[in-house]
Symmetry: C2
Subunit: 162 residues, 2 copies
Amino acid sequence: MSRLDSFIRRMQAQRSCLNHAAELVRELPGHVLEFGLGNGRTYDHLRGLLPERNIYVFDRQINAHPDCVPPGDRMFLGDFQETLPQAVAQLGATAVLLHADCGTGDDAANRVLADALTPSFVKLAKSGAVLIADRAINAGEFEPLPLPADVSAGRYFMYRRV
Amino acid sequence: MSRLDSFIRRMQAQRSCLNHAAELVRELPGHVLEFGLGNGRTYDHLRGLLPERNIYVFDRQINAHPDCVPPGDRMFLGDFQETLPQAVAQLGATAVLLHADCGTGDDAANRVLADALTPSFVKLAKSGAVLIADRAINAGEFEPLPLPADVSAGRYFMYRRV
Ligand SMILES: C[S@@+](CC[C@H](N)C(=O)[O-])C[C@H]1O[C@@H](n2cnc3c(N)ncnc32)[C@H](O)[C@@H]1O
Ligand code: NI
Ligand code: NI
């Protein structure tokens, strides 16, 4: 499998998980949180799936396609380690869908980052919220959810906040 | 269709065209030219499809995944406008598969770049060579080829060097 193949599978897995999560939270009022704007592809997909929700977006910088830049009052700009505590203070446990796609090329750093952010994810997620992540999240408050049928184990991760 | 959807379709179209082109040139001896290394995903795919070929790669800089960096003697590093004439001088019309994925976010600039590079593509392509590109190529020497069944018109482009 080439890197092109595995990249396509990863994007498809990401999309399937976002689509599935949107169905799971459709009846549950609350916000959407996107950790990692990047070029705004998954943000654009999420706002199409859940057009009536507030989507708060976190990133160090805005590098997105001009059409995919969130409104300024929904953007937490800066390092996650600083903006997540701000969001906890501002929003509390009001999120029903959280998507963490914060990865860079460095697997070890990604693991450390995910573990550092997990306590904030716990505080931001309302009971019943769905968390989707590009890597495993280790917290008793997040119970693994079955993945959509077309997503292989380990390619993307889904949890339900107890 | 979200930007995530259209991105996935573009990657799939690119892969289908590369796969199809590799079959078309399988019996035709010659080199492969990759214009735009980027993170090396299509380079990795091409070397899997055609492991026995020399693949020459052109980019301004090396930003690829460490596993996807071509050998130094197959890399033309610098602005296309300088490296393509060098390649014409060094290689002549010896390429049987050319993949031009040079696009940035700017459509008008991409059009200008494609037109500026086309005369070099003509000189580098052996008769019978297949050119795949992320935008239309306008030259009488390149006749449009039918796209693979799963690729919509205008999503990717394929030509045969007369
Ligand atoms: C893989 S990209 C996100 C891609 C996005 N989901 C998309 O579909 O386009 C990861 C993003 O996380 C951001 N990021 C990584 N570590 C960060 C940190 N510690 N603080 C803030 N942003 C960070 C990067 O700037 C990058 O834009
Ligand atoms: Ni790697
Ligand atoms: Ni655009």
